[in-house]
């Protein structure tokens, strides 16, 4: 019986993009269903009643929620191709640690850079750059966070790269200047089809943010 894979997602979500990249890496065919988060449909509410959030992967009718949990699930089910986590337990622990770091640390200050102003925005910008520098330190001289191969940590973080243009525009800074090695890594990742096809255009995201600000009445 063929696998039925459905992804409930939002085009602009860096969390949803992680799942798209993982599925593409594995060559898994799936049905993409765009969600309207201001008007949540019955399928989303049924499949993620607890958090009511995207992404949700529905595999043969069974829902899996939380982007990093979904990516690990994908790696475990479609294990015959493109392993996303290393095989050594210690390396796997390091990958989980850094993916968890990205998951907890990057989004909040990033969001504040465009959604706030004045001191709050400045604080957020400083924090954001600091976090990026920690990640750049962890990357070191490796081509990918996973070492020679693109993997779990790369997937967890690369999806923020299409949002860099938004952060730079609002925060008035250059990520290339602050973290050149990280930008080199971004470009390397973007050469992968799984990444280039899963991430939206950065200019479209900027327009989207302007639109969000208008409807939420943010100046």
């Amino acid at each position: 019986m063929a696998d039925e894979v459905v992804l409930l997602d939002l085009w602009s979500s860096m969390f949803g993009m992680r799942v798209r990249v993982a599925l593409a890496e594995k060559g898994v065919e799936y049905e993409y269903k765009e969600q309207d988060l201001r008007n949540k449909g019955p399928l989303l509410l049924e499949m993620n009643p607890i958090h009511k959030k995207i992404p949700v992967l529905i595999h043969n009718g069974k829902p899996i929620c939380e982007s990093l949990i979904i990516v690990q699930y994908i790696d475990e089910v479609w294990h015959h191709k493109a392993p996303l986590l290393p095989s050594d337990p210690y390396q796997r622990a390091q990958a989980r640690f850094w993916a968890d770091y990205v998951d907890k640390k990057v989004y909040p200050p990033g969001r504040k850079i465009w959604a706030t102003k004045g001191d709050e925005q400045e604080e957020a910008k400083k924090e954001f750059i600091e976090i990026l520098k920690v990640l750049e330190g962890e990357l070191g001289e490796k081509p990918y966070f996973g070492g020679e191969s693109f993997g779990f940590v790369d997937i967890s973080f690369v999806t923020f790269s299409c949002w860099f243009h938004v952060y730079e525009t609002f925060g008035n800074f250059s990520i290339e200047k602050e973290c050149p090695k990280l930008m080199a890594w971004v470009k390397r990742c973007q050469e992968r089809e799984s990444v280039s096809k899963s991430l939206p255009d950065e200019k479209k995201l900027l327009e989207f943010v302007y639109y969000l600000m208008k409807i939420f009445g943010i100046e």
Binding site: E66, P89, Y90, R92, A93, R96
Partner: protein, 230 residues
């Protein structure tokens, strides 16, 4: 002993604190698997050089050090223990879908239930009452969710042994008598009878029982913590 020899020993260190429910998770998992380890008590108001070297990113406990290599974040450590020592008993189920569900609820407990306990402890009066209400609702979601996702079994145990989820949920919740005595009441017997029955079952489990922080010392520590917010 020569440094080279030291690194080659199957040496397992656990950095934790006596009151820390989270470092307790690591010790329980190691004991369950029958893995010998050395425990290192940390004073969080005066962190050791070693801790800062082993966990420079978060500077927190618990940290597991195996053959000189450190791992931080309790859920990451638990998965490492299960993978590096794959002997029975297993902490996580084998099936990917079951594993995803266990990870989801472990994550929920750490992101929602534990912070909720802090919110209660840090608030007073009406704010506290509201915090308790909200927390009770979060627990209700946990109760329903675990029942639905793991029908017909107590997900906190796997046969006679405690499971991954049991180890996670035992943190903080199993210390409720100390919280209660210190005045940080988050007990919600009527609203969450199922959750508290799980917690009592966990408290009776030998490995948890022997790892509980000393009651009176914890009460004093909690009282001191709360007085900072009154």
């Amino acid at each position: 002993m020569e440094k080279k020899e030291e690194n080659q020993r199957e040496e397992v260190l656990v950095f934790g604190t006596w009151a820390n429910s989270i470092s307790g998770r690591v010790e329980i998992a190691l004991k369950l698997k029958g893995i010998p380890y050395e425990y290192v008590e940390e004073d969080l108001s005066n962190k050791s050089e070693l801790l800062l070297r082993y966990n420079p990113v978060h500077k927190k406990v618990p940290v597991l050090v195996h053959k000189g290599k450190p791992i931080a974040e309790s859920l990451v450590i638990l998965e490492y223990i299960d993978e590096n020592w794959p002997n029975s008993p297993k902490l996580l189920p084998q099936d990917p879908y079951q594993r995803a569900k266990v990870r989801f609820w472990a994550n929920y407990y750490d992101q929602k239930i534990i912070p909720g306990i802090y919110t209660i402890g840090q608030s007073q009066g009406k704010e506290r009452d509201e915090a308790i209400e909200e927390w009770s609702e979060l627990v209700r979601v946990l109760e329903e969710g675990i029942e639905k996702d793991f029908p017909g079994k107590l997900a906190l145990f796997e046969g006679d042994n405690i499971s991954f989820l049991g180890i996670v949920v035992s943190s903080y919740a199993c210390c409720y008598p100390a919280f209660h005595e210190a005045g940080s009441v988050f007990l919600s017997w009527e609203k969450n009878p199922l959750f508290w029955s799980w917690v009592n079952a966990l408290r009776d489990y030998p490995l948890i029982k022997e790892k509980l922080p000393p009651h009176h010392r914890l009460v004093e520590s909690l009282k001191a913590y709360q007085s900072r917010f009154s």
